[in-house]
Symmetry: C2
Subunit: 721 residues, 2 copies
Amino acid sequence: MSPKPKTPSVPQARPCQERPLANLLCPRSVAVIGASRRRGQLGGEIFHNMLSNGFTGAVYPVHPKAASVQGVRAYASIREVPDAVDLAVIVVPKGAVAGVVDECVSAGVKGIVVISAGFAEVGEAGRILQGEVLARVRSAGMRMIGPNCLGVINTNPAVGLNATFAPAWPPPGNVAFCSQSGAVGVAILDFAKQLGIGISQFVSIGNKADVSGNDLLEHWEDDPGTRVILLYLESFGNPRKFVEIARRVSRKKPILIVKSGRTAAGARAASSHTGALAGLDVAADALLGQAGVIRVGTIQELFDAAILLSNQPPAAGNRVAILTNAGGPGIMAADACESNGLVLPQLSPGTEAALREFLPKEASTRNPVDMVAGATPEFYEKALGLLLRDENIDSVISLFVPPLITAPLEVAQAVRRGVVGTKKPVLTCFMGSHGVPQALDALREGRIPSYTFPESAAMALARAVRYGKWLARPEARVPALENISAERAREAFRRGPSSEGKGRWLRPDEVRGVLDAYGLRSPRTLFASSEQGAVEAAREIGFPVALKLVSDTITHKSDVGGVVLGLEHADSVGDAFRAIASRLAVLGKRDEMDGVMIQEMAGGGLEAFVGVTQDPLYGPLIGFGIGGVHVEVWKDVVFRVHPLTDLDAREMLEQIRGARLLDGYRGSPAADREALADALLRVSCMVGELPEIRELDINPLMAMPPGRGVIAVDARIRVCR
Amino acid sequence: MSPKPKTPSVPQARPCQERPLANLLCPRSVAVIGASRRRGQLGGEIFHNMLSNGFTGAVYPVHPKAASVQGVRAYASIREVPDAVDLAVIVVPKGAVAGVVDECVSAGVKGIVVISAGFAEVGEAGRILQGEVLARVRSAGMRMIGPNCLGVINTNPAVGLNATFAPAWPPPGNVAFCSQSGAVGVAILDFAKQLGIGISQFVSIGNKADVSGNDLLEHWEDDPGTRVILLYLESFGNPRKFVEIARRVSRKKPILIVKSGRTAAGARAASSHTGALAGLDVAADALLGQAGVIRVGTIQELFDAAILLSNQPPAAGNRVAILTNAGGPGIMAADACESNGLVLPQLSPGTEAALREFLPKEASTRNPVDMVAGATPEFYEKALGLLLRDENIDSVISLFVPPLITAPLEVAQAVRRGVVGTKKPVLTCFMGSHGVPQALDALREGRIPSYTFPESAAMALARAVRYGKWLARPEARVPALENISAERAREAFRRGPSSEGKGRWLRPDEVRGVLDAYGLRSPRTLFASSEQGAVEAAREIGFPVALKLVSDTITHKSDVGGVVLGLEHADSVGDAFRAIASRLAVLGKRDEMDGVMIQEMAGGGLEAFVGVTQDPLYGPLIGFGIGGVHVEVWKDVVFRVHPLTDLDAREMLEQIRGARLLDGYRGSPAADREALADALLRVSCMVGELPEIRELDINPLMAMPPGRGVIAVDARIRVCR
């Protein structure tokens, strides 16, 4: 049956017309299928909300029997609705959903929100049911939100859509919110209403069978009514796609996220260093950081940061001035700023002098500026203006503790006057001002964020500064590299034993072949299976040499004394060979000794570490740190998800805690940073082109002094094909 | 003039009678000197508050001219008040305070609260004025709170004292609060009222000229109405006294603190490793930790933890069960628990089975237990009971997101029934429940703490668990040590050059003498001033030896190549001597070379680090870490303030991040932990007995395998006398 031609009931222009999700988020007409006469039931609450929040279109209750629902003429089926319906909100028992969707398709409905639960979230039977619904939606070219969701809200007065069963309707504003959890969504809407945080659109994506967080990011990317995007997610459906979209959207507007739920990474095989080092949530952290997404720990922090970013200009840097009328809160704010990476610089002499002109002599004109308890509204106005014009200052936190005389409202109005014309962010904290809502209202009208305690202001500012820093980064790219051959790398291990199932660790010669194919230099190495062979190999390479056990089965060679460094004479080479052999004999593992490698000693450099592990969800995760025992004990490793950009590689070198070791330290030489960054990019390229590499450790990657490159002294690679 | 004999106006028993601060905190009669007829003035607000909050005694306004103040008969001076006055609240101009105090003394007033500002907080003139007031108070044997404070509150219905000018009167309860900042105090009272946190007593100590936080700790120690003590402090007047009192009081009731303001430690000379490592606030952290005081970052966290500790029993361990009716918040809570050091163990099989009996099949009976959206109040009651009886579980966080059908109030009542009889703490989070205050009231009546978001609950619980762990620690003591002689140590450097002013670094032989006098072993060492002498010394000690530059002026010897290790032959000793001499000649520092030490090589151990720096406020600060470059790059050092107990020393070894290196790691031997702990105690004893030691670094302190002790391979000591 083909859709009936119908005329749109409300012809007015919609704010998101012509956008892919327009029918879901800016519908002109809505049917509530399963609308109920009874409040307290989902279908009753949703219909009530649709009627109560200024929806500018028409809403049609669909009810099998009732002639009217909550005073509105009802229809027995969507197909009986006489006008075109942009959006159907479906709140019928799960078993009836597929049939209702069929009717929607035949009625020409353009989008659906499925509130009903009992789908993929409850197991296999529900997953099948959800698949059936999704297939109908896809084949009809519709879009669907849910199932198992709370619904959608659009506070734009031109739309006024509240298709949720949540009790709270937030004030209109420019913050868009996507919640994967309906339960958290209810709490979020309530919290937004309490705090007076203006919401542009709210979407509970539920099981996200069709519309996902990624779709919403793209929708909000160009939504003029949205300035900040908040996400509460428990999982990424397609993390690589998320990064691609988020990285682009983050350049236009800040994305803040609470990402709860640990990844499946805990199950990751931890036989390599890198695998064991990469904590449960390292991949998600890396991914979000690379995409410029601001990750916060709690919903409270999410809102704290959102209030700032949605109302104030970005901060050009991390230099904060604090203005207060009470010493204690000033100190609290200063502490909180510094522990969040912000700095309180000295004010310029001109500012201090100008402050001294009108502040009482008990006041402190240094940062934090303490105007003491008698501070008048005029002091606030003047001081704010001076601080905001100080070239040493990027932002101001203004604190106010109401003494008896000064009225908070007057101070709030003075603050509004004080910030006129500035392009620097200003945050306020009117402590103990729950009792003076007018003051907070005045600040809100002036788009000046206010916090209950100074620490929240400092933390929010720190996040905004970090976002500003990310925005200011130069454009990064994944550079093209020379001397690379995936084919030659595969050739290196193609003839080895099978590597199905859990795969296998490559033999040392195979490892060197793979590294060589990606332009990564190994020390000169010869294999020997006998004591005599070892001595001859050492003579050929030239002393000193290292002697290393070769075994397919013994992974941590130093645990069995299988690595002997700095052998200076033929005799010591022979001794070392025999020592390993007899040690293994004692352990009953003599058979596992395939022989030894005799290796050029690459000394005189800094031992770095490069590793790759596979995250089941996020793909290759690349780590860098200072090598040797420190990697394991101090866990001083930074991670990025594949692929690395040139900027990622450089930042990784800077971001380890031991970064200054790369500059040379107490007599040890500096490391060739260029070559280290290049090696990271080559490893990134390698694991992208060779998905059969499941794990890789280069430890140590000996970083020679600048200009002299890096040498992969020891490396392990596990392949699986 | 001697005090007039007067009869007490209200003879009833006071809750804190016979306690030192009784007249200040539980007065039977109060005079407000400077009481004003005008609201909006301090003296008007205080008098209004005194009248409005159920004060059980009599309050007398003292006003120079008015016949009555706010309807109460007024007196022109305190001496005209006909009855005995326990407490005078003074709110007159600063210049008049001393005179008023004189009158109070002659009128037999027993305690005073000075609200007036303009004393030590405004500089030298104010400090003098404050000294004059204090002298009068002391010589009269009175006690004084303030000056420059907000006042005092006692909500006990037998007292009903509100001698503050704060607008908010908190609900009565069992949390005592001391605030150094009046401004923060106003905010705190307002916040407590908002959150419904019951306060027993509140004291704003202002400039704490007389009564300090220490006095209040002792007062609240035995106050039956106080179960939790909260402190907001910006400085410790007498930190050692604070530790002594807090350590004792913490055993009886938890002390929570927000300590803002950095110490003067930034000015500390940072020429030693230890000085540079000890961050700005390390000493305060160490001090509070040693005293069992729970330090939190923000006022919000302070209240979050206080609500738990004031209402629920202590947790026996860190094993948490989470109960929820929504997946998302359950995951958030689990994440927050784990990132705060709590664990979510498996439930015992019996619990899981019992849960399965009544929960729907979509529910998860694993921890976190997700009862899904249909969960009834009965489910909550039953499940809570089961979880609380599970022996794998020490505490429960119960989450509830109101769906439409289930009423929060009923769930709250069910939770109250579910916890009956348990001795384990229960926390709740009724998300989005701002709209259902009755539910929160019901929980409050049941003494069950409720949080807006699960993260706050997790963080509060983590703090309570840490406090429980501190309580469970065995009694610690500062052990008596053998082989110690302060006299012999002083002898070692008495004949050296003067060490006034900034003091001087001891010469190596002096250092060895000091260490030896405290039973700390140094490697065998000979001094040589010539190449030939060095060779002879090496022959006497036996190869291999170390050769180290001796210089009074060059502190970091390795920076100038002044440390050469592992010399195996006489020739290499001679070479090394000449190399240092010529290096210094090139640097123009040949004159600064006094000679070299030839030293036994103490190899085969783990290089540890022990250091002492002096905090100007907290005294000697003792640090321990793994030695060498790691101390400086990774800053893996733990600190304690002097004196160390046996438990402190053992804990220090455990608390460094690299602790597992002490157990031997990848072939390197384990360290003699007993000897390391003993060395820490000896160093602690040394710096206690020899206050002239300003700085000390032992780096490395070579820790030999168990049973073989430790050797102070290199050490530096700066003395100042």
